[in-house]
Amino acid sequence: MEIKPILSALSRNKTGALLIALQIALTMTIIVNSVFMIQQRQGQMERESGIDEKNTFLFSYMGFADDFNEKTRIVEDLDYIRKMPGIVAAVQTNSAPLTGGGWSMGLARETGPDADGVGTAIYFVDEQGVDAFGVKLLAGRNFTADEIIWRERTSNDWPGQGVVTKALASDLFDGDWQAALGKTVYINETQPINIIGIVEKMQAPWNGWRGVERTLLVPNRTLFGGGRIMVRTEPGERDRLMKEVEEQLFANYKGRLIRNVRSMEEIRTESYQAHNGMNTILKVLIVCLTVVTALGIIGLASFSVNRRKKQIGTRRALGARKKDILRYFMLENFLITSVGVVVGAAMTIGLNMVLVDMLNLPKIDWYYIPAGMLLLWFIGQLAVFGPAKKACQISPALATRSV
């Protein structure tokens, strides 16, 4: 075919061709790795928290007045909220998924300081906890009202029962989560907790934590001077109740602050704000990069068409069809891009190795590489098509004129 004359023409302008190839290699490196990072983050953001995010909201309270008695206040507040029309359940808790701050402990199947432990997030809840978060009980039972114990800020004692997530049960019992039901595990090295129930899924508060699926619910109401209340409403009632609960509680008693009344959906958005932001930046970068590279190819190709006007005219005069001229430029671009994407494939893997090291990202999946190569071939062909089309229009008569 025409490869030989193209190569010999390219060898006369090696630098120009090399520059485009290098540009394509770099473009591919950045685009492929960025897409990979975007998808990694996207995957993290799509994980379900396991709770009923659509119909729940969370708020913090903190007592300050001299007559603030947390015990009676919590009992009264919860009673009041639970009786409001449209409420499904409400519970006092220390934290919730996606909030970023919480309590963690180690659990082990044996006692003593040397036992192999599994780290878990802890939520203090009462008998309405499972309902208020809207998590699904897979096996066993929920807490009963008489199991709930008041917990002081500095207490080291743990209740004798606990509800765990499937993931925590599985990690504690070597993959066999069903075996966990009814078993005793130890917290604080020596204190036994009997696993009375297993819920399907409930994330820990820290979305970046490796053990984010490991959660333990314990039957405690806390007396820490301040805390949070999680409220679950009937569908469609959340926004109305968020306002009403805040206003009513303040009207009932003014000696405590109520702050940060936020729906779980808002909390989710905030929790992944940095993820979202980083993804947007990478997307903008990809678009700019594609445009710049494409424009560069167009610019260079137009120029080379202009410069070769006379040669093109001569070829046309000697019998080359329009199609042949078009094919020449398309093929030339294809050859240059091919060099670029081969170098780019190596560079992509190199950059991925750096990212694996720095960001603890997994290794890039193999199919990203051919996909990236295809994409750049496509961009290159698309960009060169316009100038090549123009080249076809050059009249054979041009050959006869002296420029």
């Binding site: 950045i30 500095t154 990069l289």
Partner: protein, 437 residues
Amino acid sequence: MLGYYFKLSLLSIKRNPILSTLMVAAIAVGIGASMTTITVNYAMGANPVPQKSDQLFAIQLDSWDPNRPYREPDILPDQVTYMDAMALMKNAPAKRQTAMSKVFAVIEPEGEDVRPFETEGRATFGDFFAMFSTPFLYGNGWSRESDDNLEMVTVLSKETNEKVFGGENSVGKFIRIAGREYKVVGVLDDYRPIPKYYDVTNGAFREPEGYYIPFNLIASLELSRSGNTNCWKPSDEDGFQGFLNSECVWIQFWAELPTENEQQEYLGFLNNYAKQQKELGRFPRPLNNKINDVMEWMELQGVVQDSAKIVMWLSVMFLMVCLLNTIGLLLTKFSTKSGEIGLRRALGASKRNLFIQHLMESGIIGFVGGIIGLGLAWGGLKGVSALFGKNVQHLVYLDSNMVIFAILLAIVSALLAGAYPTWRACNIQPAVQLKTQ
């Protein structure tokens, strides 16, 4: 002569408007993207106290679990226990030093106009204010005697003073914090170190605290704390005293050590102290204590996030793509000018003259690209601030250093991009070029 070259360059730029626009745009976009990310990284990695950063030291003691390090691989805890903090405050040889922790409380302003509000505070020693060079609007910090005597004193941030006292001089007045009356001894002026280096445990770019109170009150009044608490074994006793005597780390500890000698002496003290504690059955890990100056500490705590670094390097690579683009375009452009260059050479222009003239053309393109790029960077930073919310609002300003850097970067990039095409263009044989015409 330079004026003439300038005119020629402008003419040449105008002759190929599309090509010139492409080159300017490529440089502008490249500079815009890289300056946006460089600015964020620059602000994150800035030295928050240049005049003292090599004199302030974050203290690390390895009091952790014998079976596993605080963090792999063998990383020391970033905070210290109450027992160790008290021992160091009492005996360690530092010019100034302080243990501190974050606290939180509801502040109740007098009267009905301002509702009570919750705010974070810092429990610290009186040395804090001199150590970290906090600016005072009114009054001063408290003395070491106030620390020892458990005096109920406080220093307010400018913001808290605005809220509670309407911004007037409140020194000597009383303020109700967490249900107790504290006497105001000082009010800070605007104080916002970026990063908030003295405590990065809950994020390096958070707002500074709203009030400061003596650290010793935590124990005597059993105050509520916030911030991180990490324990490797349960405490032996119940209650607040049990917590204080536990192996939990929750205190940031800093010392001011101006000279090499003092630093050595302090480290020696720490090692001796750890050895004594080992005899008492504590500090079960191998002897390992460290003092870190401010910039070492920022590095160790990963204040400049890795993801920010990655995005910066990606955008610098993007700038490189834009420059390759520009080189390619200039190369082609100059190659069409070989006839003109040949003619000028034949008429007596030296290579040097032509080189300068064409480099000037690249420089002009770079300068214009840089200015537009600055505008793009400004927009980019607005975008970053919209995307990441208030946590980055103080990281997204182009200061004069950054503006100068951006323009220089643009011009240097353009000159570098222009150098090779110019050199090629000037190296042609005049005779050959003239013949073909």
